[in-house]
Symmetry: C2
Subunit: 270 residues, 2 copies
Amino acid sequence: MAEAFRPDKHEGRAYPRAMTDLRTGGGIAATAFLMGDPARAAMLAALLGGQALTAGELAAEAGITAQTASSHLVRLVEGGLVAVERQGRHRYVRLASPAVAEALEGLMALASPAVTTTATRRPRGPRDAAMRLARTCYDHMAGRLGVALADALERDGRLRLDSGAGLVTPAGEAVFPAFGIDLAGPATARRPLCRTCLDWSERRPHLAGRLGAALLARSLELGWVARAPKSRTLAITPAGERGFVDVFRCEPVWHAPDAAEARRAVERQH
Amino acid sequence: MAEAFRPDKHEGRAYPRAMTDLRTGGGIAATAFLMGDPARAAMLAALLGGQALTAGELAAEAGITAQTASSHLVRLVEGGLVAVERQGRHRYVRLASPAVAEALEGLMALASPAVTTTATRRPRGPRDAAMRLARTCYDHMAGRLGVALADALERDGRLRLDSGAGLVTPAGEAVFPAFGIDLAGPATARRPLCRTCLDWSERRPHLAGRLGAALLARSLELGWVARAPKSRTLAITPAGERGFVDVFRCEPVWHAPDAAEARRAVERQH
DNA sequence: GGAACGCTTCGGCCAAGAGCGAAGCATCCG
DNA sequence: CGGATGCTTCGCTCTTGGCCGAAGCGTTCC
């Protein structure tokens, strides 16, 4: 590891770091270094589920002891990757911003081909069946549900998607507010309204960005989906089964052959 | 650094890595680890310029000896971040794919606020003035020129941009082919046609994606811009000054007060 | 108040790996 | 063909930082 991201430790450097500001990746290295440890990466990946988790849960997720996790968390906070909120004797950790989630996605996109070409095939257990049907991906919906929604919206001309990018059409500008989503949104809006995000399990794009986040938030609010405890799996409720079809003309992916298995798995986890 | 990304080295792990496939960032860690070393990050940042560089040039860029650079390159190749082509006794290195560039951009976006809030102010030398005016950003144009082009295209309704995403409008579908760009492009097209990328120096979006790449390629072809040797700086030619205004109704940013300084700097580098 | 719990701090151990010098291969040039 | 150049391999040193056990601190519950 050597000097890590502390520039002027070895004076053997060919030229001072300050000279290289615009050109080098001083910032890249510091951030990537934080993500480059397996334990920290596991924590961050767990936080990609979108829920705030306690330090203890993260430790378990990463397979390390509480004290080790604690030191990692200090670094992640200092590095601005996660934010922490105290609540009683718990300490809730979440990703610091959507930009962090996007950076992580960028790295995953890079990693996933390698993962699949090697022998590391993913286990197709019942739990994963449920996750493949519907789950959160940071702050939006993924899995077959997420992909089906994106498909339906594009098919009906409410969005135009071009891998990675997406725009709401005039037709869409009517539908989303009717569903209870404010497209104008907060003026903070460094964040794209509509992005797509490649789905791990489906290998097809689903909706991300502000719109994707709003869609999940509103779906939870309406009780169309419910979070499974301690997991990023989403359960689709009967109300959701009607709603997604009625409002978005979404394909009923939950009726697919192996969806029953997924449903049982979610119930088993109650 | 400890076990880095070799999972089952310590048997102290709480649960086997295979269990964590969908959930953890095994892949994240491996990739981020490679980007997390300052020397490697500097090399990758240099390659973001879009040109293939030799191993020696990269060593100089990172401020390390040739042998150290060599070992880093082996890792980067193994990790699939860069690709190498032998040519005579040189070895040319380039980023392996646009996805790598995008992942790096994601990390830079995260890092840059931190960089500016700390005392690390960037030097405002003449060389950087030239870079701020126009430069390559992997395979597209950045700097004031890149931003001005994006602005002009959006202002004239040829694109609709929403930070991060972008779509070509019907009006644009006429202009780009006339300029010599095939919007349909190669059917490979996992790559988005139109993305935006946050400009380091301008803090505003410029065009990336397939369209951004095609715009740069065609501009080079027409001799509107020229690469400065051994740098990612672009020089705007007289033909370009006319062309960007005539074809895209772009603001003549090269006439701004400090542009003369930039021009001299480019000439000095001849 | 005392015990349980969640998390952090301290201290020590240890392996990974970043760095360089020197030697070894190739390739190109005169 | 001999020497220069570009890069890689080998052998080595040394720092970093990840890991845990034990102890400390603050909160909550009984």
